[in-house]
Symmetry: C2
Subunit: 383 residues, 2 copies
């Protein structure tokens, strides 16, 4: 009989050591930790049919999915924690509890520039090791948008036996050249910050905040549709500022620039520039075709029932990229389009539509329902 894995208390951050990790490109990271949270009780067989849904966060997201997907995860919500055991890790390379550039190297100093480049596959492999470390050899589904969607797609190709269904949202089968270009512009904004110190700024008492904020401002404009931003801000001046004065003054701003400054500043308070560079680079390297005979062969080889979701106004991952996945993937469960002026971020913002999409996905992925017996949480209690 299989042991029921011991899981983190409801909604609380916990950490799991997965040992040394070898990257796809051949570097290694010693003594890796993966942080995660869990909502809802476990039910079923850790090695077979069970009620685990793994959610994959986006670039600067984290394991606290009940925050950033608050309308969608919880009792009675689409990802109903009375029915599903939701597990969300912090990605390898990030800075919210999992090992990343700001974590201590075995020598005690931060990894910094010694932290290797990661691919999306590396993020998935680390998560796979994490789930195995917990005692799982199977989950019901993996769901994710943007960088989370890239990871979900790679999950379905790296470990098809590990999941019963996948929901791939607002992403492509590989980085497009445009994405690589605009993402590299963000990396460059950080690299050009004098406080970046080649990635080893942790030894200094100042972080490359300006560079990270500049990167985020650019990124934000790819996350939001131009019509939505224009409807909100147009050419309005920021209150008490005059962007039309006789001389250009950076502190006399249009409202949209004040908004973008806020988005940039806010990120510097919660995110590490090293992680931003590492994970952005992982997105540059996203390519499910690598080593699998090309993009369409890779997609065609997929056996996991996969739902593909896109946003009609997404300029970062345009809808034709999700159509491309849908047309070529080996086992298409369904396709859905979020209709919104918001652009890429609609998968985070359009809760009503996402609610219906995720409910539909789970219904399609378990058409006859799940009959899994009692629900456990760790070794402490069961319902």
């Amino acid at each position: 009989m299989t042991t029921i894995p011991e899981l983190a208390p409801e909604g609380e951050l916990d950490h799991v050591k997965i040992g040394d990790f070898a990257t796809e490109a051949g570097a290694s990271i010693a003594d890796v930790t993966i942080a995660y949270r869990r909502w809802g009780a476990f039910a079923g067989d850790p090695h077979g049919a069970n009620n685990i849904v793994v959610i994959e966060h986006a670039l600067t997201g984290d394991s606290n999915a009940a925050d950033w997907w608050g309308d969608l995860i919880g009792s009675g919500k689409a990802l109903d924690t009375q029915q599903w055991c939701v597990i969300v890790t912090n990605a390898l390379g990030s800075c919210k509890g999992s090992t990343g550039p700001c974590s201590p190297h075995p020598d005690g100093k931060a990894w910094g520039s010694r932290f290797p480049a990661l691919s999306i596959r590396d993020l998935v492999e680390a998560e796979h090791k994490f789930l195995q470390e917990l005692g799982f050899e199977h989950v019901h589904a993996v769901i994710g948008g943007s960088m989370g969607g890239a990871r979900t797609l790679e999950w379905s190709l790296l470990h098809p036996e590990f999941l019963s269904a996948a929901c791939v949202i607002a992403v492509s089968a590989r980085a497009s050249a445009w994405q690589i270009g605009i993402q590299s512009a963000q990396i460059s904004a950080i690299e050009r910050d004098p406080f970046w110190h080649g990635g080893d700024y942790y030894e200094y008492n100042k972080a490359p905040r300006e560079g990270l904020a500049a990167a985020r401002r650019i990124a934000h404009l790819t996350y939001r549709g131009e019509q939505e931003i224009d409807e909100r801000f147009g050419v309005q001046a920021q209150r008490d500022e005059n962007p039309l004065g006789p001389y250009r003054e950076p502190n006399q701003r249009f409202a949209v620039n004040s908004y973008l400054d806020y988005q940039g500043d806010k990120l510097t308070e919660r995110f590490d520039a090293g992680s931003y560079v590492t994970l952005t680079e992982a997105l540059n390297r996203h390519d499910v075709g690598r080593g699998r005979g090309g993009l369409n062969k890779a997609l065609a080889s997929s056996t996991v029932p996969t739902m593909v979701v896109g946003v009609d106004t997404d300029i970062l991952y345009p809808y034709h990229q999700q159509e491309h996945i849908s047309r070529n993937i080996g086992n298409l469960l369904a396709m859905a389009k979020v209709v919104s002026p918001i652009g890429h971020d609609a998968f985070l913002a359009e809760s009503r539509q996402m609610d219906r999409i995720l409910r539909n996905f789970l219904a399609l992925s378990a058409p006859d329902g799940l009959d899994l017996g009692p629900m456990y949480v760790g070794d402490e209690y069961y319902i």
Copy 2:
């Protein structure tokens, strides 16, 4: 009888002083020079019906339109210099012969940060003064794309009596918030270059090349459609470089980044960072509604027969913006769509389509042809 204006030799750069210039926002620039070129002989009345077509260049363009619109300007081409006298100035604030931030202030040093902020209207007013200085009170048409389109639209509202027709290409009636955001990201990239010195780098022996190149890389991604860039570069590595190595190395690039580096570097060799900031800021301030009762009232007040041209895949000035102009402008001559994967730059690159569009525009603008008598060039000769 009106004197026939003396014009620059065919295709050669010439300079005209227009005196002191007061900007829309209330600053002044002493002793302004406007540089220009001319192709084709003049015919008609400098104060009435004549064969002058004024072409307006884009942000980093210049008066040498026979270079950047080489397929469209010349004998037998759409802008047939056997029939039309084509005049192209360098915009106020630019760095190709007209007065801009790198020009000498009356004190002998460069204007630098003392150069005022300009609006699109300022660019037009300076050109208006220039044409009057030459002796003209009327031209047949004004044509321009992107920043040139913004100027063309402002021409039709500031001096409707001065032109018989306008062709407004790949632009909007005002900056969108998204444009302001992405354009400000470019300005910020330059400002963050330590060699920018607040705009007064001319006194130093180093220019903010890194910042200007970074700005251009971002800009270029808004000029080109993502499908076109992706078809060319995809996730290819630059020859002899490996962007997938175990550690991220900025000199191990994807092909698209090498291409963008080239675009950035090339601009630093031909363009001044101060002019780039000044003209980008002018684009941020583009708003035909300002002081005219709002956008649609301003457009409705237009009396100049205007052709509006857009590109279906333009992400910088999306096609719905040209539809907006067309729906609201007081005297719509025609509308045309360039169909291209290239995006915004299609108005420069899709010569075949632009040829037909410009021929159509000129035919519509002079349906009965022009009967103007002999063609003059300066006071030297006539045909």
